[in-house]
């Protein structure tokens, strides 16, 4: 087995990380304090996540690139401002999701952050779709860390003056000891935070500096409980090729202007589903009591008919109870509908609920 290590591997080891293999990388699932404490620390203070396994795809180009990318992504990219980001998906012609991603307009083209398990395949697909007209770099020389939680803005601003003035879903270049660092105000925890793209050689130094200023390393275990409480999807679980963005209840991420023209990959299906509705849809599910319904748990209605399946489920430390998401037949997707979850042969009551489970505190404008 040939698992890769990120540039923070040594720091993870020093910090008593427990490692798991994830998408071909040795990644920290948790550190000595454990998932619950790490989760709460992120919500109350500031946590650092090594997400260097994720793909950082730089595509270089101008007006033509924008036109070509609009044939792929359901986004209004020509009107996207410089250094602004959008959440989107790479779809197949049936609107099945190859990957979900964040795309940012930079001064040289676009930066796309891709899921680790999908990045090589995404690269291949995009290269074919763009017919090799543009320089594309899936950059292994850069690391990516996220710093998330209410204290993160002040901590990061001590290192990168001015970073606290970034708006949510926008970014800029900063410098760390004369090296170019790209920082966006974004994340995947439901907290205010930032993602920092930095050359591999300097990520260890920067991370130690952030720890010295009061942030803490947080593992993938807490990243999962944080994102699930925030109602955010995890690719390979809540999203895959058999699900469309409309079924995933992510139609907010599709540009209305682009739908009216319908000239992107998967647009036929998307438009059809937006007009006619979908058979199944992603919902939040709150079990009554403490029972945890994990991925693949079957969902039944009050007449004991199988109506769906859980795609993510765990214990939410901030909610202090179990939380889950899943796909359910549309007619049962209304908030407060009572359903039953089959766990270890027994059916347990649960209710369809709105997402997120935990209220976001993203900053909208710049902090004073």
């Amino acid at each position: 087995m040939n698992t890769k290590k990120t540039s923070l591997y040594q720091l993870h080891q020093e910090s008593n990380a427990k490692f798991v293999e994830f998408a071909g990388y040795q990644m920290p699932i948790q550190y000595s304090e454990g998932i619950v404490e790490e989760h709460k620390f992120t919500r109350n203070h500031s946590g650092i996540f090594d997400v260097s396994h994720m793909g950082q795809l730089f595509i270089y180009g101008g007006e033509n690139l924008i036109k070509d990318l609009e044939k792929i992504f359901p986004l209004d990219l020509k009107n996207l401002k410089l250094n602004h980001s959008k959440y989107s998906f790479l779809m197949d012609k049936d609107a099945g999701i190859h990957d979900d991603l964040i795309i940012t307009k930079t001064n040289e083209g676009f930066l796309i952050i891709l899921n680790a398990a999908c990045k090589d395949n995404d690269f291949k697909i995009l290269k074919e779709l763009l017919e090799e007209k543009y320089k594309m770099v899936l950059d292994d020389n850069r690391s990516l860390i996220a710093i998330q939680g209410p204290k993160s803005s002040q901590i990061l601003n001590d290192v990168f003056a001015g970073v606290k003035d970034l708006n949510f879903m926008s970014g800029n270049w900063f410098s760390f000891q004369d090296h170019k660092v790209y920082i966006t105000r974004s994340g995947y925890t439901g907290e205010d935070g930032f993602e920092i793209s930095i050359p591999n050689d300097f990520v260890d130094k920067l991370t130690r500096e952030l720890i010295n200023k009061g942030s803490k390393l947080i593992g993938l275990g807490a990243r999962d409980t944080l994102r699930l409480e925030a109602g955010l999807c995890l690719y390979g679980h809540d999203l895959d090729k058999n699900k469309t963005p409309v079924e995933a209840n992510l139609k907010w991420a599709i540009s209305k202007e682009r739908i009216s023209k319908g000239d992107f990959i998967g647009s036929d299906i998307i438009i059809k589903q937006l007009n006619n509705g979908v058979d199944k849809i992603r919902v939040g599910i709150k079990p009554e009591g403490r029972i945890i319904a994990r991925e693949k748990t079957k969902i039944f209605n009050q007449s004991d008919v199988h109506i769906g399946e859980i795609t993510s489920g765990t214990f939410g430390p901030s909610v202090n109870g179990p939380v889950a998401m899943g796909y359910i037949e549309n007619e049962f997707s209304k908030k407060d509908t009572k359903v039953f979850l089959e766990v270890r042969g027994k059916k347990h009551p649960a209710n369809i609920c709105g997402l997120p489970f935990y209220k976001k505190s993203y900053v909208k404008g710049a902090t004073k």
């Binding site: 998932i35 619950v36 275990g221 409980t225 403490r290 765990t314 214990f315």
Partner: protein, 126 residues
């Protein structure tokens, strides 16, 4: 004097008279991480040696709890169901899982003593 014995499934068992108190070891809780859910056998039910007699779940996964000996469940610890984090805090004492009235004391003979268990736990987690 009652001796505490240990199973390969990381349960501890303490026998007093013909009543055995059973829980999971500190080592088990360290492997599981934060325990957020516990399910116990029903009082009055009968459990068989090496059969499942409960469930614990961490944020990551669910794990069965086995009983190292056979017997009738005479008591269960509701406190760990109400607050499963107690299992991480005090696994080998106040956070016991259930008590059995045991039938065959010789079932205890195949279990490990503390030294052997510590060695076993160290080897299997390496």
């Amino acid at each position: 004097m009652s001796e505490v014995k240990y199973s390969k499934e990381h349960e501890w068992i303490k026998l007093e008279g013909d009543v055995a108190t059973i829980g999971i070891t500190k080592h088990a809780t360290e492997m599981l991480g934060d325990i957020v859910f516990a399910e116990l056998p029903e009082k009055g039910s009968n459990v068989a040696k090496d059969g499942t007699a409960g469930v614990v779940e961490s944020t990551k996964a669910a794990s069965d709890v086995y009983t190292p000996v056979s017997g009738e469940v005479v008591d269960t610890n509701q406190a760990i169901v109400d607050d499963p984090s107690k299992i991480n805090q005090d696994p080998e004492d106040s956070a016991w899982f259930f008590k059995l009235k045991i039938k065959d004391q010789s079932e205890m003979d195949t279990l490990m003593n503390k030294d052997d268990y510590d060695k076993f736990a160290k080897e299997t987690s390496a």
